[in-house]
């Protein structure tokens, strides 16, 4: 049986969403009051969804692991949010935004979903502006735009280098308003530890209260996961250090298929590793590539300071290789090009693992003040971390794990393969294909939360209006709770010698070396072997101090690492299966003579959705064939 019914509506691309909205089922206001929805995660997707569902009259219970919903990691998105407003009159349109995303994703995303994301983009900007989000404005008082990688129009709205923070605070304010009204109830400092499935439907969650250690049961008629991506699989990434994949992994074990896990974006411009104790890599926004020029010395191993290297001895390799897009090529292309130069021995810095991002020409042309107005806070941030002043000396940057295009498989309604369980934002897989374009993450995640899930969830809940309040005394809740408790006991009983964080660090290194920017069959197989060995060591030598009935950050970390092992193996398995290169997934066996990614549409034009069987059985592959009826599939070129 094919488990994958994507439920894409018929009809012309531009009419699919409006027709779908007009034909799906509705829940009347009186019934909404009797229905409960759980939303896990309070980033742009979760907070926007919770607020919008609360406004509609549903009873919403909202969960996050931080002390307050305002800290979800959407807060760290810097550069901007795309929308097809065409305020610049530069030929932009919903279709063009759609097309750029399909092409940017290397023809591995679903046409209908991507078109919808582009279609609702304009509403998002209007919504945030109405909420008082201070987007950058021109002197005439209207909104300003800037350009981002992989496109030739200016459609990115921004608030200095803090667009994510400002949008998140917009969504958080809407959520706060609903909490005040009593439609949303907030449960912060909670870790989701299991999804409860009753008679095949998602009916609640098991959470751990991180302050008291208490295991809680929460029931609902539907569960929405807005729990973000799994980029911290690399240990060092641009994500928050507590970001984790446990919710997605638990959902996967309960029957939700996991799609394209190996599609992971490595962001080209991050502050490189500076010391051995480093716990995270800080992103320097892609918007910097509007004005910064990327280069390495033409001479291998040139140890001179950057300002001492004359113009003619510099290799602006992106401008050289990709004259049409130059420094604004998409992220996957820019990352691989940096790796190529460093691997060939042209990298700079002590480790040779970085390249320069230089603002000298921009400062000369536009003045220091203009550059400061655009990127002031980013320059400040760089100086604090790296210790050098980017106005005077080029930044040093290197790629780092950033965003996961893969995620839980969802249909057009954003429902996973478990009825009543939804995944929105980065937690799902649907809109970015094999590579995400800059400034389209905020767009997709806010779009899912504000303008998609509030409609589509009604189609499912309309059939649930006769279902009474979900009792948490059901045996399924009991069984789930028991399982969660036994896992915690098992972890605590190991009583070995190494803290959870040290295992995470080693797992991250294995993943970076074997399933990072470039992959090959041998390396991936070796990676799986090493992960298995490390997992075994984890279960025999983990050390957790303290008890389970208190605030215990070691328990939190250990549980997350335990789940990372499974997802790490799945990433490798998916990467092994996909023998083509596409977007961010680069299989060394599949490249052109010029070293560009070589796609294989004949054999791999599908979404790989994996089904969890059990611990000892390999996951089963289900294919959702991708069809392109509205764009011509081409070789992606930015030359």
């Amino acid at each position: 049986m094919n488990k994958l019914n994507s439920k894409i509506p018929d009809g012309p691309l531009a009419e699919k969403w409006s027709k779908h909205k007009a034909s799906i089922k509705l829940v009347n206001p009186a019934n909404k009051k009797r229905l409960e929805i759980i939303v896990v995660g309070t980033g742009l997707a979760g907070a926007s969804a919770a607020a919008s569902l609360g406004e509609l009259g549903y009873n919403v219970k909202v969960f996050c692991y931080q002390d307050t919903p305002r800290r979800a990691h959407s807060v760290a998105a810097q550069g901007g949010i795309n929308a097809a407003k065409n305020y610049k009159n530069d030929g932009d349109s919903v279709y063009r935004l759609f097309y750029d995303m399909i092409k940017g994703g290397d023809y591995r995303a679903r046409e209908a979903n991507v078109y919808r994301a582009a279609e609702v983009s304009n509403n998002i900007i209007d919504q945030y502006t109405a909420q008082g989000v201070p987007f950058a404005r021109e002197y005439g008082g209207l909104l300003d735009n800037r350009s981002f990688g992989g496109v030739q129009v200016s459609r990115t709205f921004y608030a200095k280098g803090q667009t994510g923070q400002q949008c998140l605070l917009g969504s958080y304010s809407a959520l706060s308003r609903q909490i005040n009204k009593g439609t949303c109830t907030m449960y912060s400092r909670r870790d989701l530890l299991d999804i409860v499935v009753v008679d095949g439907k998602a009916r609640g969650i098991i959470a751990r209260n991180l302050i008291t250690g208490e295991i809680e049961r929460h029931g609902a008629h539907a569960v929405v996961l807005a729990t973000g991506g799994y980029g911290t699989i690399y240990y060092m990434s641009t994500l928050a250090v507590n970001s984790n994949a446990s919710a997605a992994w638990k959902a996967h074990k309960k029957g939700a298929l996991f799609a394209n896990p190996s599609f992971i974006q490595i962001h080209p411009t991050c502050i490189p590793v500076l010391n051995d104790y480093q716990s995270k890599l800080t992103l320097m926004s892609e918007s910097l590539r509007n004005d910064g020029r990327i280069w390495v010395p033409k001479e291998k191993g040139d140890k001179r300071l950057p300002n001492d290297i004359p113009e003619e001895e510099r290799d602006y390799y992106l401008e050289r290789r990709y004259p049409a897009f130059g420094n604004l090529v998409p992220r996957d292309v820019a990352s691989r090009a940096a790796k190529e130069r460093c691997d060939a021995g042209y990298g700079v810095g002590d480790t040779g693992l970085s390249v320069y991002l230089d603002f000298k020409d921009a400062i000369k042309k536009q003045g220091k003040e203009a550059i400061e107005a655009k990127y002031g806070n980013l320059f400040e941030m760089y100086e604090k971390i790296a210790g050098t002043n980017p106005y005077e000396r080029p930044m040093r940057i290197y790629p780092a794990g950033h965003y996961t295009m893969g995620g839980l498989w969802v249909d057009y309604n954003l429902m996973t393969t478990v009825p009543g369980l939804y995944a929105i934002g980065e937690a799902n897989f649907s809109d970015h294909g094999a590579n995400r374009l800059g400034a389209s993450s905020l767009m997709q995640t806010a779009g899912d939360g504000y303008f998609v899930i509030p409609y589509t969830i009604g189609d499912y809940l309309a059939d649930e209006i006769r279902t009474p309040k979900i009792s948490t005394d059901l045996p399924e809740f009991e069984a789930s709770e028991k399982e969660v408790l036994s896992q915690i006991d098992k972890l605590m009983a190991i009583n070995g010698t190494q803290p959870a964080k040290s295992f995470h660090k080693r797992l991250g290194k294995i993943m970076w070396d074997h399933a990072g920017m470039a992959r090959n069959e041998e390396g991936l197989k070796e990676g799986i072997k090493l992960i298995n060995e490390l997992e075994k060591e984890f279960w025999t030598d983990l050390k957790i101090t303290g008890t389970k009935d208190e605030l215990n950050q070691e328990i939190e970390k250990a549980g997350r690492v335990a789940d990372f092992f499974g997802i790490a193996k799945l990433i490798c398995q998916d990467a092994l299966n996909r023998k083509e290169s596409c977007g961010a997934h680069f299989r060394e066996e599949s490249q052109t003579e010029g070293g560009e990614a070589k796609r294989d549409d004949e054999n791999y034009s599908y979404v790989a959705a994996w089904e969890y069987i059990d611990e000892n059985t390999a996951q089963k592959l289900h294919k959702e064939e991708l069809t392109f009826d509205f764009v011509e599939v081409k070789v992606r070129s930015y030359k």
Partner: protein, 247 residues
């Protein structure tokens, strides 16, 4: 570097806390302050001792989760820096560094260096928003806003809700936090409809939650890692007064 850490340890909200000293060697000047604490915790766990609990998440100065009173100053001695952005290169070899949680009645200690800042959420819930339902917004460019006002709003909106202002204020006042939100929204035409109600409700909630009064010492502005200006407080006072006058 070798350093000595003097850290506030408190088992839970009800327990009595105390300072405990920990020597730490092999500290690299390139480590961030929190990476240094990671190294300490790594050592403590291996020794079988409870590690020091502290809040942190993004580690790039934007989420506002990290806190810490370091050598008597919120987020340490550097200006416009959060604890996670603070690096060990600003400390000296052999130095003793004291680390405490935020101290304020409105922010009770949860464990060790972790405090409960839920009161900030409650203040926002009382009115820190513009009432606009999803889908009801008009085109963004239908209401022009001068660049100066938009920039001003941005500066106020860059508050990360960390609570350093409260921890620093001798009265534990939340005026800088409240005023930043009130001024941000008052800068927009669409925010003015509820401006009076917003100022009154947020201030009332702040008082109710046990924050102290503002006596204009300006200490909060000095310690704010995002450089939120006390001009916001003057603006809040104006909003509040006009709201009261129109009652």
């Amino acid at each position: 570097m070798n350093i000595t850490l003097k850290i506030w340890r408190q088992k839970n909200a009800k327990a009595k806390g105390q300072f405990v000293e920990y020597p730490l060697s092999d500290v690299s000047p390139e480590m961030s302050f929190l990476e240094m604490l990671d190294a300490l915790n790594n050592k403590l766990v291996k020794e079988g001792t409870d590690p020091v609990a502290f809040d942190n998440d993004c580690r790039e100065g934007i989420c506002g989760m990290c806190s810490l009173y370091i050598n008597g100053r919120a987020h340490g001695q550097e200006t416009r820096t959060t604890t996670c952005e603070l690096h060990m290169r600003v400390f000296k070899d052999g130095e003793t560094i004291s680390i405490e949680p935020w101290r304020s009645k409105a922010f009770p200690v949860v464990k060790d260096l972790i405090v409960d800042r839920n009161a900030f959420d409650k203040i926002i819930q009382a009115g820190g928003f513009i009432s606009v339902n999803t889908g009801s917004a008009s085109d963004s460019n239908s209401i022009p806003v001068s660049k100066a006002k938009a920039d001003d709003a941005f500066d106020s909106a860059s508050c990360i809700g960390c609570g350093a202002c409260v921890a620093t204020c001798k009265n534990s006042s939340a005026m800088l936090f409240v005023s930043a939100k009130v001024s941000q929204l008052a800068n927009f035409p669409q925010g003015q409809v509820e401006a009076a109600k917003r100022a009154k409700n947020m201030v009332a909630k702040m008082d109710e939650l046990g924050f102290g009064n503002c006596t204009n010492t300006g200490a909060c502005e000095v310690e704010c890692p995002k450089g939120i200006s006390i001009k916001n407080i003057a603006k809040l006072n104006r909003e509040y007064l006009s709201a009261k006058l129109s009652d």
